[in-house]
């Protein structure tokens, strides 16, 4: 029998095949946008060559929140309770700042029950890639509107939403978030660049990904359907992410270019697609966003970027090593010190 040996699997810069970045089999509906995002997350960590064991995965509750089980099996993960992922992630990442945190949440998990923790996570600028898989509905509880549903968008069974949506990006920018992006699970290339940049960002990186729910919110009349998103997507720019270890020039089409460098030497390269848009000018960004809302445009891209903003971890000024590894020698004052302290209470 003659057979060619199977080609050795392609490996990344730390020598791992992509399979080492995969997770358990998804149990989501066939075609669910969330599964597409999962794939992009796998690719992003693999391409960046981050050791899986250094990643910590977080989520709340919902179809979207199930996905951390579907990527990076070799990373630890926490499926917290509904809407409380930010606090759990904060605690874990403070305890061990060597971990690279990624959180996946849904629009219900974030904008409804979880909006309080979201606001305070952003306020603290806790380093965490925060992906909202936004489908405008509660998928797991069978399709009720969430707080990001647009005015006039209809439910599958009829019935239109009449409350103004919470724009998580607008909110994050107003709260001072240093990395705010919006994307679409159908725009894989853009999402990939955004994810890589977010992972490189040392602060909260909010990515609001429109990720259609094919079972409950993909019909005519929905503004979060594949078709609607595809038809209305307006990329603000093309994005290239050049990681610090990459010396090849990012392949970008000709046109106007703006580079935003990260503290670690990585660069986000914005290539204008005709619009005059500066992702570092907050007022312009907000005004553009507001205009687009009125115009029912679906703007995507890295809406706002401020890579130098100090993170909570740096404000707390804790030691660089994980607090989890410190022993009695570093943590427990001496017997003499105890005696000295107690002397004050005599």
């Amino acid at each position: 029998m003659s057979a060619t040996l199977p080609a050795a699997p392609k490996t990344n810069r730390i020598g791992l095949p992509k399979a080492d970045y995969e997770g358990a089999k998804s149990t989501l509906c066939l075609g669910c946008g969330h599964d597409v995002v999962t794939k992009q997350i796998v690719t992003a960590f693999w391409e960046l060559g981050i050791e899986p064991r250094r990643v910590a995965k977080f989520s709340g509750i919902g179809c979207s929140s199930k996905t951390p089980a579907y990527f990076l099996n070799r990373a630890w993960g926490v499926n917290a309770v509904h809407g409380r992922m930010p606090s759990v992630a904060t605690g874990a990442l403070l305890a061990n700042p060597e971990l690279i945190g990624i959180g996946v949440s849904g629009d219900g998990d974030t904008a409804s029950i979880g909006i309080g923790q979201f606001v305070h996570l952003v306020r603290r600028n806790m380093p965490l890639v925060y992906v909202v898989e936004n489908n405008g509905v509660y998928g797991l509880t069978k399709g009720q509107f969430s707080a990001t549903a647009d005015v006039g968008s209809t439910l599958k069974g009829g019935g239109a939403n009449d409350l103004v949506p919470i724009d998580l990006c607008g909110l994050a920018i107003e709260l001072g978030c240093g990395f705010v992006a919006r994307s679409f699970s159908g725009d894989m290339k853009q999402l990939q660049s955004i994810l890589q940049a977010a992972i490189a960002h040392r602060g909260t990186a909010v990515i609001d990904v429109i990720s259609p729910c094919v079972t409950f919110n993909d019909h005519e009349g929905s503004t979060k359907s594949y078709k609607y998103a595809k038809d209305h997507e307006e990329p603000l720019h093309e994005i290239g992410f050049v990681p610090y270890f990459d010396d090849t020039v990012a392949e970008i089409p000709p046109g106007e270019v703006m580079d935003v460098p990260f503290p670690d030497g990585s660069v986000v390269r914005f290539h204008s697609v005709g619009r005059d848009y500066d992702p570092t000018d907050k007022d312009q960004v907000l005004a553009t966003l507001h205009r687009s809302r009125t115009a029912k445009e679906f703007l995507t891209g890295i809406l706002y970027l401020e890579p130098e903003k100090p993170s909570f971890a740096s404000l707390l000024n804790t030691v660089e090593e994980p607090l989890t590894t410190l022993g009695e020698d570093r943590l427990r004052p001496s017997p003499g010190m105890l005696a000295a302290i107690l002397e004050r209470y005599r």
Binding site: R53, N79, V81, R84, T90, G91, A95, L323, M337, L342
Partner: protein
Amino acid sequence: MSNAPSTTATAPTGVVVNDFSLQVATANGSGSQTANNVLLRSIFRMGIPVSGKNLFPSNIQGLPTWFTIRASRHGYIGRKRELDVLVLMNPETAAEDALAAAPGTSVVYEKKLAVEKLRDDLRLFPVPFSELAGKLPLPPDQAKLRRLLVNMIYVGVLSDLMGIDPAEIEASIRRQLEGKAKAIDLNLAAMRLGIDHSAAAFQTKLPHRVERMDATTGKLIIDGNTASALGCLFGGATVCTWYPITPSSSLCETFIDLCAEHRVDPGTGRALAAIVQAEDEIASIGMVLGAGWAGARAFTATSGPGISLMSELIGYGYYTEIPAVIFDVQRVGPSTGLPTRTMQGDVLICHTNSHGDGKHPVLFPASPEECFTMAQAAFDLAERLQTPVFVLSDLDLGMNNWMADSFPFPEAPFDRGKVLDAEGVERLKETWGRYRDLDGDGIPWRTLPGTPHPKAAYFTRGSGHTELAGYSEKARDYVENVERLARKLETAREMLPKPAVEERPGATAGLLAFGTSHYGTTEGRDLLEHDHDLPLDYLRLRALPIAREAREWIERHDVVYVVEQNRDAQLAALLRDEMPACAARFVSVLQYDGLPLDATTVVDGVLSHRGRTGGAR
């Protein structure tokens, strides 16, 4: 009605030495705290067992506040319901306080309050406090300071009336105002003003006298929250998250101060602990669980409303088996209740917290030294058992000043529990599962995020899971898992602090108390023995679930008086469920008025039950 103040009253019939309860009535924010603490410390320095209780309003300024000092040569430091000496400084409450006093009570009061118009059966000591304060050498624009110093005048008066050594007062002032020379001088002047005035005005002194003894050597005057914070420091806590709430805030605030001093990395100057004032209690417990999951010793401190809010995440911590330490410094519920009063009202919600099934280890410190040791034990237990552990203190213990035994230096290393490192994973990789009971004690092994081994990682979820931490809705997986959790609680039972027991020969009935109910109960027990010829055994429960020793003790007694500071007899309910065969033996003695339990409640409770059941021993 004669309005004669006590200067002209008959001399005290008998002198009582080192045994009194003294209450100072002022207004919140009037600065009496310093004076009261000086008073307390002076008596302490004279070697007399003493405790101080501050009864303050849930506001910041202007409402009535009472500070009670109890001195007892017998060593009783719980609250005494009966007051021997009153100092009335607050016009708002003077009449009410005076009218409520027992005949014969000694009352020192601001002369303008004219208490003598209300009662002629008290020993009255009118003092023109504000007039005296006017004599202090202060510029006229210092009216506020003058109002503060009034308080030190009553300290002087009491020094003279009761025999409190001015030298100890001076030492206490110096210590209290550490280094603030000008303030020290003024306070000393105020004290002397009081002493001098009293010496001149009152020939007959108070029947309650202070005399030096030697019962406080090596002891501390400290509050429970400070002690708990020290326990967290020495117990190796590295993550503290909190949301301010009375009466727990000072626990975390003290921890912050301690870390600023003792948790700075000498090399880098950076912090060896992360402390977060969270946005609310749900976030605090979420952060604690995140940190515990990552492998840090993490805690939060709160009070009842915080526990209610944390319930969902506490149940999550139980089911996912994440170490966490929760201090509940209890106050009066339900709801906002009386935020500045004490209660043992969270026993049930802590032990059985959250929906679905679940029981959690609860520690009951009864003293500052136990706050110190149990805080440390809580971290060991949380990591060993991989579960949230409650330390149930209360306002009385947490915020009041207690005479306490000194704290032992912890010699044992931290017990970090069953943690597998890369090598361990390698060794066990064929058999290990995050939720597999390899040792038969219900406690599985965990790995910490980041462990460098490709098989080390696992996924944590509050939904059903297999031994290998996979998602599961299978009936068998669920049943086996929750039965293992029940088994784990049985393991905990053996690990938790054992009850403290005191026996009386021949007693067939016993008193059972926990936490701060200890003080009123033991004092009441002495009274029952001495005044009513009723010796009772005593067991102080130090943890839930109850230890085997406690079960056996209960089984040996026909009647067990369960003393609690709540309306619903929450501990008794738990005991009845634990020991159905003994359920009818439990007789509840309850106090739930927001004040610390006193011995009279215990005596009355036991006697009235005896009356009901025919008085048989």
